[in-house]
């Protein structure tokens, strides 16, 4: 099958959806003429013109608000917030307006809005450009939250997000753009809310999101060398979460490690841990292990940053520990 980068897969998804539906439009800083700081919107301005591909001023609250209003009135905007850290400037528009409009209005509004943004650390961008804020949005009723880890998932899920009638927070990872993987030429969609078993195994379940899914696969290789077969599950959609896929796996393995890059406290690993301990209590042979970011703002220095973000080694150690094996 054809190989594409995560970047190109996203770009292709946007091209296809804009061609399919004249209501799809793009807003954001430098998304037009320049093609996006990360080049995800490359070529769209030339093809669809400035009405549908709007370069905006540096006004996150304003252009996200505009996207919300546009979504309520017949468009399907895809707004790009360059770094998820800047979504802090548009929180009212995302959380109080987009997420709640439908419910507050008794089901009358549709808000088919996609906010594409990018999170995570690892490039030395320091504390204001490296956050993993997915849990704020997972905690907000009325939003869908997606974090793809492969080019294939990125394309299929972005297309589904655009066609979905709800506000979707679509979070890419800055270290994934140059990764490559198979992406079919034929059109396809990936359903929202369905996890993907990235590797099958019987000894321990590893649930890992976004870039952490790739690290979990590496960890699984190392574990295999030690005779431990890890099942790696990428939820892909954090909300709604495909819990049954995870539960089924845990019923098989009896052991669970959850990996997420955000700071441990209040993070996604806690959410999965809580759900699984309740629904699969009797199947668990060991406490669930959480592998998560350090509870610190991300530091600039490379050594420190590595230490603040889960590494393959941490996942391996956690898996060994739930299998009651020495590291």
């Amino acid at each position: 099958m054809r190989e594409l980068s995560y970047r190109d897969a996203l770009n292709e998804a946007l091209h296809e959806e804009m061609a399919r539906d004249p209501c799809v439009c793009i807003l954001g800083e430098d998304v037009g003429r320049y093609g996006g700081v990360l080049q995800i919107t490359r070529g769209l301005y030339e093809k669809y013109g400035e009405k549908r591909v709007r370069d905006t001023p540096i006004s996150e609250a304003g252009f996200v608000g505009i996207a919300v209003g546009a979504a309520m009135t017949g468009l399907r905007p895809v707004a790009e917030i360059m770094y998820i850290d800047f979504s802090t400037l548009a929180m009212d528009q995302i959380v109080n307006q987009a997420a709640k409009a439908r419910y507050m209005f008794g089901g009358k509004a549709r808000v088919p809005l996609v906010i594409r943004t990018q999170g995570g650390g690892g490039r030395g961008n320091a504390a204001q450009h490296s956050q993993s804020l997915e849990m704020w949005y997972v905690h907000t009723p009325g939003l869908i939250v997606i974090q793809p880890s492969t080019p294939y998932d990125a394309k299929g899920l972005l297309k589904s997000a655009i066609r979905n009638d709800n506000p979707v927070i679509f979070i890419e990872h800055k270290l994934l753009y140059n990764t490559t993987g198979p992406v079919p030429e034929e059109p396809y969609l990936i359903p929202i809310g369905v996890a993907d078993v990235k590797r099958e195994g019987s000894d321990v379940t590893i649930v890992a999101t976004s870039r952490m899914a790739l690290l979990a696969l590496e960890a699984a290789e190392q574990l295999a060398a030690k005779g431990i077969q890890a099942e790696v599950i990428d939820p892909r959609t954090l909300k709604p979460l495909d819990l049954s896929c995870i539960i089924q796996s845990v019923q098989k393995t009896g052991r669970l490690v959850v990996v997420n890059e955000a700071p441990l406290t209040g993070g996604f690993t806690a959410e999965v841990t809580a759900r699984v301990q309740r629904q699969a209590f009797d199947w668990l042979d060991a406490p669930i292990m959480q592998v998560a970011g350090a509870d610190v703002p991300l530091p600039y220095n490379g050594r420190l940053e590595m230490a603040a973000i889960p590494q393959v080694r941490d996942i391996v150690d956690a898996a060994l520990s739930v299998c009651y094996r020495e590291a």
Binding site: P57, A61, G62, V64, I66, G69, P77, Q97, A101
Partner: protein, 321 residues
């Protein structure tokens, strides 16, 4: 822009509809039949009615926490509004929104809003949407003088001006923001000066003069529809009642509101006199319209009170489409 006798009568009727709706809302609130807070539009009716009188049903408005008047002026159904205030299943929001969240997407009402300034982005987005879809729809964004201090106004206003969006930013200078006069919180002398920073024309109008509002907003709407971009309109008026129902109004002299309730200033009485003096209406006709409005409100209350509450299972509906 010439108005027929029937159209003028309808405007007068709508002024009363708003006044009486809010009087009823106030009473029901005091009787503990409403929850949360309720903000009345009393004294400002001519702004919403005058402005919405130049809109088509498919044009958009966004409203505020003080939203009853805007929704009624745009053609909202008083029965479903009253039912919403009472939290009933027949309400506009099936009882989930209450006073601060009434919306009617079918007539372009993109929602009252509990966030001060919360409608500014949405209205601007509706105007942007019209340009992409190639319609000639227009949006009016209602907001208060207090709200004019929210930064998103500059952000959205700038984009509206750049993109020549069909929108009117209609600031109701009712002289108060919550429990404080609004003027001491703005460094500009006149609110319309802000328009300069947003790169659009600014104009001030007597908000208690329905026909003046209609004229000024009408020009702005015509410009917007023709693709000539946004306008910032400041309608000067007065919040005759408290910020919320129940506000003891300790922070302002009672005489002040009394003056604004006087026949000289009250927007309904002013418009009524105009109708008699310049448009051949009789007092009896006016009385009839007033009574008709009262009947509509009474019927709305009856409808609302007789309506069922939502079912417990409704809690889980409408989170996602």
């Amino acid at each position: 822009m010439e108005l027929s006798h029937q159209q003028l009568a309808d405007l007068y009727y709508r002024l009363w509809l708003i006044r009486l709706f809010d009087a009823a809302a106030r009473r029901l609130f005091m009787e503990n039949k409403l929850r949360g807070t309720t903000h009345t539009y009393t004294g400002q009716e001519a702004v919403a009615v005058g402005a919405c009188s130049v809109l088509r049903p498919d044009d958009y408005i966004t409203s505020t926490h003080r939203g009853h008047g805007h929704v009624l002026a745009k053609g909202g159904d008083p029965r479903r509004m009253m039912a919403e205030l009472l939290g009933k299943a027949t309400g506009y929001c099936k009882g989930k929104g209450g006073s601060m969240h009434i919306a009617d997407l079918d007539i372009g009402v993109l929602g009252a809003n509990g966030i001060v300034g919360g409608g500014i982005g949405i209205a601007t987005g509706a105007a942007y949407s019209a340009t992409v879809r190639g319609t000639d729809q227009v949006a009016i964004c209602f907001f208060g003088d207090g709200a004019s201090n929210q930064g998103i106004l500059m952000e959205a206003g700038n984009m509206a001006a750049l993109w020549r969006l069909p929108i009117i930013y209609l600031c109701e200078e009712n002289q108060y923001a919550e429990f404080s006069p609004s003027r001491p919180f703005m460094a500009v002398e006149k609110l319309e000066q802000k328009a300069a920073a947003f790169g659009m024309p600014g104009v001030t109008v007597d908000g208690n003069d329905l026909l003046a509002v209609r004229r000024v907003v009408g020009e702005a709407v015509a410009r917007a529809r023709a693709g000539d971009g946004p306008t910032f309109v400041v309608a000067q008026t007065y919040r005759v009642e408290g910020h919320t129902v129940g506000d003891p109004l300790t922070y302002r002299p009672p005489e002040e509101a009394e003056q604004w309730r006087s026949p000289e200033r009250d927007p309904i009485q002013r418009f009524g006199r105009k109708l008699v003096d310049d448009f051949g209406f009789t007092s009896a006709e006016l009385k009839g319209l007033h009574e008709q409005a009262q009947q509509t409100i009474d019927e709305a209350i009856r409808f609302a009170e007789e309506s069922p509450e939502p079912e417990p299972a409704d809690l889980w509906e409408d989170v996602l489409a």
